[in-house]
Assembly symmetry: C2
Homo-oligomer: 350 residues x 2
Amino acid sequence: MNLNITLLPGDGIGPEVLAQAVKCLRAVEETFNHNFSYIEASIGAVAMDQTGSPLPEETLEICKASDAILFGTIGTLKYDDNPYAKVRPEQGLLQLRKELNLFSSIRPVKIFPTLLEKSPLKKEIILGTDFVIYRELTGGIYFGEKKLSADGTVASDLCEYSEKEISRITHLAFKAAKNRMQKLTVVDKANVLETSRLWRRVVSKIGESYPEVALEFLLADNAAMQIMLNPKQFDVILTDNLFGDILSDQSSAICGSKGLLPSASIGNDYAMFEPFHGSFTQAKGKNIANPIASILSAVMLLNHFGLNEEAQAIIVAVDKALRKNISTKDINPSSTYGTSQVGDFISQNI
Amino acid sequence: MNLNITLLPGDGIGPEVLAQAVKCLRAVEETFNHNFSYIEASIGAVAMDQTGSPLPEETLEICKASDAILFGTIGTLKYDDNPYAKVRPEQGLLQLRKELNLFSSIRPVKIFPTLLEKSPLKKEIILGTDFVIYRELTGGIYFGEKKLSADGTVASDLCEYSEKEISRITHLAFKAAKNRMQKLTVVDKANVLETSRLWRRVVSKIGESYPEVALEFLLADNAAMQIMLNPKQFDVILTDNLFGDILSDQSSAICGSKGLLPSASIGNDYAMFEPFHGSFTQAKGKNIANPIASILSAVMLLNHFGLNEEAQAIIVAVDKALRKNISTKDINPSSTYGTSQVGDFISQNI
Ligand SMILES: CC(C)[C@H](C(=O)O)[C@@H](O)C(=O)O
Ligand SMILES: CC(C)[C@H](C(=O)O)[C@@H](O)C(=O)O
């Protein structure tokens, strides 16, 4: 298969973890006789420093011309700690999601058997945990009108959802549930929010077309509790942009290290793959960041194009690395393996 | 001391857990020679069934005329599962918070040594956890304008904050941190939300008057992760209404049972005390609900009026019950003690 892949390394540890994912894709090309081409473009703080914009026009064009995007991470401490900054690196990512209409973020939460001990949760709580979060990605309070009064004393953010925005991701989530354990949990705050009540009505209606899927609703506060008390109960979780952001990061903590989970951002025309984790600026350039989440985002890319055998080959190699303790210090404090050594081992074992 | 206490049992398990808290207060009166008077009023689904309103005018008047309010729980499945209901039980609670201007919810997270084993988290993760969440309670997206388009296909909720709303709770949180471990963590989503950036500016400014307190900012997604990975790092967490709702419920899961943590809702003129947990309608009337959170909310009430010795006497009795395994099934699956038996034991040991 021929694939044009855009690489967006971004900020912080993004470039170094992404480089390991690319090593693995190159190994897949060789082993399975494919032909992927890669083109790199800039986004985030790096792009701001170069061009003034966190999403240069050229980057957007390159993304639109490619078959898939592999994304690193975004954000720097410089802007995080400055509540006055008008332009921020993260806007590059948000704008890209919007421009490419990547309305559904798919975030699987599954723990490698070798890493059960790494979880802050007890083994009996997490054993068998395997769920996936469908987070709406281009609507809600992230994209609603933002206001600041002229005297700077009153600020507001609007959370808005339309039936159309809700229904397109709802169909994806129901389809996923149908192919998994047939359970869909919608997380909202319907006892307080009007948008949540719209979500409930739209999802309930669509649910009639998926009679084999058991549909339940859970308030966001309760969901945050249940993810800790009993994560095994979930199959597919469907939720809005903000709840999805918080709950998916919380869920990633089940795995003990932030460096392990990938996500896919899907629309009707484009698809982007990235780690759950952030830019971890403190670790930048130190060769200590865990590349596994990024490598697994390449796995999701392969699955997206039906290259399941290829995807499986990477997973097997990752699993081998973990079993042999070839991992970064976040997983294995006495490890002497760095980001690139882990990437080398995994790619060489494909 | 003379105190007029309004009792608002509410829905679900509210009445039965509240009754145990009152038993304990009566025991305190007797032992320490105080004179508390109690007057009951209705709120929530119960009030809706009786009067059509989830917060009858009479209830509000009674609350305003009293020194403190002891609250049970609110909500019923009937309304939870109906996204079309125009009036909801929870509105009674939200309206009460607003009318009494209870702008600060104080939610301590601390685990009884006897219950360490109950946590879903590993012992080494939680040992020493002791933090308190200051959740803004009368602003933000809970109270902003809600809209539904005429054709019912577009909904919105407005999140709005003013400098004044932020600064009054910020002062309380800094003062608390000053008297504790001198660390304040502000949780927001400043990389996306305008209101979060206003929070950062206001809090940073006020922080200059509390130089002894170390101030840090944490994004809400990261906070949800950190609460699971390393809850010991926190001293005082300050956050808005919605983030506070989610993160405090998540934090309560650290304790393993939902039935253990109390909270206080404080304003300049009134104070209300209640459990973290919800109305748990499925358990209503079965004498199985854990009364400890409600009993500990009475402890917070006593502390609020400087009755610290009295408060301590209840805590000692609760601790004794837990050490003797006199607890409900959520803590002790083979227990034969019900809600009222646990309440009897604790109140008799004051
Ligand atoms: C970088 C940030 C804007 C982003 C978000 O909040 O969506 C990130 O946290 C994520 O979850 O993908
Ligand atoms: C009952 C509900 C409206 C309430 C809230 O969300 O504030 C509750 O969850 C709480 O945390 O006190």
